[in-house]
């Protein structure tokens, strides 16, 4: 009897104390729950902040990227279960970098679901510092296996996001007069010695450099177009029609040049005429093909939503002399042309200059396509049947997404078999500091063709504001402990 009572009493006490202990343990957990929750929320904030810093690092080197820059989840380390998504968006007047962090905490909600904390860091970036692609003598995103060969001469800074291919023969090799950078490597033709120092005159080469990105659109050219939406014939929208633009210098005086815009051909109906000057930026844009030739007196960009076709020589009335300092009187000229294409800038296969080549005074930009000689790589027989055509004497710059060919060379001799050689003189007015031969030009402001695409870089006051979301205090009572 006594033994049974003792047993019941002991079991009773054990149950009572067990329940008390359980409740006290639960209370202990809750007592540290606040701090644990704070730690979890700090982790969430830190991960969002980390994403913001990672996004800034990308923005610094690839400032044209937009959309989702990073979407990362951590599966190892102390941030396991955490991640962030970083986006970069153009907002009116600024660029917004937003990092949204997420952290799966080890606590569960009362319904048993994992509790995910989320924090946001939002940075407003000042991007007022803009550099034009014309500040490079030559730039490509993809080289497309096209080669620089003997006889090619390139001035100004050269950059490619891909490998730069160089072919040289015993007698000749390409020559670069400025700094050469590539995000890939400089690739010589198989069997040729890897000593490209002889190709570099007055510059140096750097491989594996950060890539430079193109913009998404040629928005500035479209928005700043000054040609008529209702043409002189009262019918044609010159911004939506295939047009032929002839540049006329007027008299030998400055500021009396003009551009005539026609439909059908260079002898077709005049639908617009635009006077040009040294002081007013003008832009001609059409969403269709634009054909262009002539002599420019003034500042102008010719842009197309498709292709720009160079139908004949395009020269400045007063071309600058890149062999002289910008302080010289000849270099006071304001004549400057931009050829901007959403797709391609072609030297038209209708142009036939014999073996005299062609003169092009312009900064060239091809957003999604190439700059090159139209159909030059087509196999014989074709509509053009190119032979050796002489040299392209370019005074300006070239920026293109996919490198286009201007000629084909014989890999046995290194000689051009059809198409053009390249003699690309960089117009130093577009980036005086790029020409190290004239230190006295340092500090002179660069000039760019009107509405020429450029890339933005963060300036010294890049971050206009840094905002972090407020944390709703972590309430331990909302969770199962």
């Amino acid at each position: 009897m006594g033994g049974r009572a003792s047993l019941i009493m002991v079991i009773g006490f054990a149950v009572i104390f067990g329940m008390i202990n359980l409740n006290i343990t639960r209370l202990m957990n809750r007592s540290i729950g606040g701090m644990v929750g704070y730690n979890e929320s700090s982790k969430s904030r830190v991960i969002a902040s980390s994403g913001a810093h990672a996004g800034l690092a990308i923005f610094t080197s690839r400032s044209f990227l937009r959309g989702t820059l990073i979407d990362k989840d951590f599966t190892t380390g102390s941030f396991t279960g955490c991640g962030y998504t970083v986006t970069l968006t153009n907002v009116a007047g600024y660029v917004r970098l937003r990092s949204v962090g997420r952290c799966t905490t080890f606590v569960k909600t009362l319904s048993g679901d994992p509790y995910i904390l989320s924090d946001t860091v939002e940075i407003r970036l000042d991007t007022t510092t803009t550099r034009s692609f014309s500040s490079l003598g030559w730039m490509t995103i993809f080289e497309n296996g096209v080669w620089f060969v003997g006889g090619d001469v390139i001035w100004g800074q050269v950059h490619s996001n891909g490998n730069i291919n160089i072919y040289s023969s015993r007698s000749s090799h390409p020559v670069f007069h400025g700094r050469v950078t590539t995000s890939g490597r400089i690739q010589l033709y198989p069997g040729q010695r890897r000593d490209y120092s002889e190709y570099l005159v007055g510059g140096h080469a750097e491989e594996h450099m950060p890539t430079r990105e193109f913009p998404d659109e040629i928005t500035d050219a479209i928005n700043n177009a000054t040609n008529k939406t209702l043409g002189l014939d009262g019918v044609t929208d010159t911004k939506e029609t295939e047009i032929w633009v002839e540049l006329k210098q007027g008299t030998s005086s400055d500021n009396d040049g003009y551009a005539t815009i026609r439909t059908g051909s260079f002898t077709g109906t005049v639908v617009d005429s635009m006077s040009l000057s040294d002081v007013t930026d003008k832009v001609i844009y059409s969403s269709q093909k634009v054909h262009v030739k002539g002599t420019l007196d003034g500042k102008l960009s010719v842009a197309s939503g498709k292709d720009v076709r160079i139908e004949d020589n395009i020269v400045y009335e007063r071309p600058p002399d890149p062999d002289l300092s910008l302080g010289e009187s000849v270099n006071q000229t304001k004549d400057m042309l931009g050829l901007i294409a959403h797709d391609n800038v072609w030297i038209s296969d209708d142009f036939d200059g014999g073996t005299h080549g062609i003169d092009i005074h312009a900064a060239i930009f091809a957003l999604e396509g190439s700059y090159g000689a139209e159909n030059v790589t087509a196999s014989w027989p074709n509509t053009r049947n190119y032979g050796p055509e002489g040299t392209i004497r370019l005074l300006g710059s070239v920026a293109q997404k996919n490198r286009g060919a201007v000629g084909l060379f014989d890999s046995r001799t290194g000689q051009i078999s059809q198409g053009f050689l390249k003699n690309y003189r960089y117009d130093n007015r577009m980036f005086p500091e790029g020409d190290t031969r004239f230190p006295q030009d340092a500090g002179i402001a660069a000039q760019y063709p009107p509405a020429f695409p450029g890339w933005t870089t963060p300036g010294p006051l890049a971050i206009k504001s840094w905002w972090e979301s407020s944390r709703v205090p972590f309430n331990a009572d909302e969770f199962a402990w």
Binding site: M9, F17, I20, N23, I24, L27, M28, R30, S31, I32, G33, G34, M35, G37, Y38, S41, G93, Y94, R96, E122, R124, L461, I463, K464, S465, W466, W467, E468, S469, S470, R471, V472, P473, F474, N475, A476
Partner: protein, 201 residues
């Protein structure tokens, strides 16, 4: 005789068991009170800390870099600064003031040191953020040197880091120690290097 002995022993054992139960009850009550106080204090502290921390990290948000100091007044128990509440440029920076009140404002609690932590936004009415026993601020410049308080007007622009010390104690004592002093559950939070990305670096 043996019956008497049984009664005496039963009474003795029963008494011991009663004492154990009563003592256990006291211990359990005290433990529960302590943990409950700790829970309450920590929740209060975390709530205060997260509000303060979230807002201090945005000091200077939306304020032009060419403007004067983003912190208007920096004292050891109060700070006035400018910030935009939202990241959009349309959100105009406003003046925010944090300060701790006097201990005399809370005479009804047991704790003689507790006081309100106040926040004032622009011309709005003062609001109570929480109850603290300590709200201390220290300021560091870019060389990581502590700056004397109150920070002089011409030095406000040099503030790079703010050190925040928050202490929260329970309003009512958990127990009275052997010397008769009331003891309060306490929790301390110190953010030693709170840097707003908007302060000049």
């Amino acid at each position: 005789m043996s019956v008497m002995m049984d009664i005496i022993f039963a009474a003795f054992i029963g008494g011991v068991i009663c004492l154990i139960v009563i003592n256990a009850n006291f211990v359990i009550n005290e433990t529960v009170a302590t943990y409950n106080s700790t829970v309450v204090v920590q929740q209060m502290l975390i709530a205060d800390a997260q509000i303060v921390e979230s807002e201090f990290r945005n000091i200077g948000c939306g304020v032009s870099d060419t403007a004067d100091a983003k912190i208007k007044q920096a004292m050891d128990t109060s700070i006035t600064f400018y910030m935009a509440l939202r990241p959009e440029p349309t959100s105009i920076p406003i003046e925010i003031l944090y300060y701790s009140g006097s201990t005399t404002e809370l005479p009804v609690t047991d704790n003689p040191n507790d006081r309100y932590l106040y926040r004032k936004e622009g011309n709005e009415a003062v609001e109570r953020v929480g109850i603290v026993t300590k709200f201390n601020l220290a300021y560091y410049n870019i060389l990581n040197e502590i700056m004397g308080t109150p920070v002089q007007d011409d030095s406000l622009i040099s503030i790079k880091l703010v050190e925040v010390t928050l202490e929260v104690q329970s309003p009512y004592s958990s127990y009275v120690d052997e010397y008769g002093n009331k003891r309060f559950a306490s929790a301390l939070w110190k953010q030693t290097r709170l840097a707003s990305q908007n302060l000049r670096r």
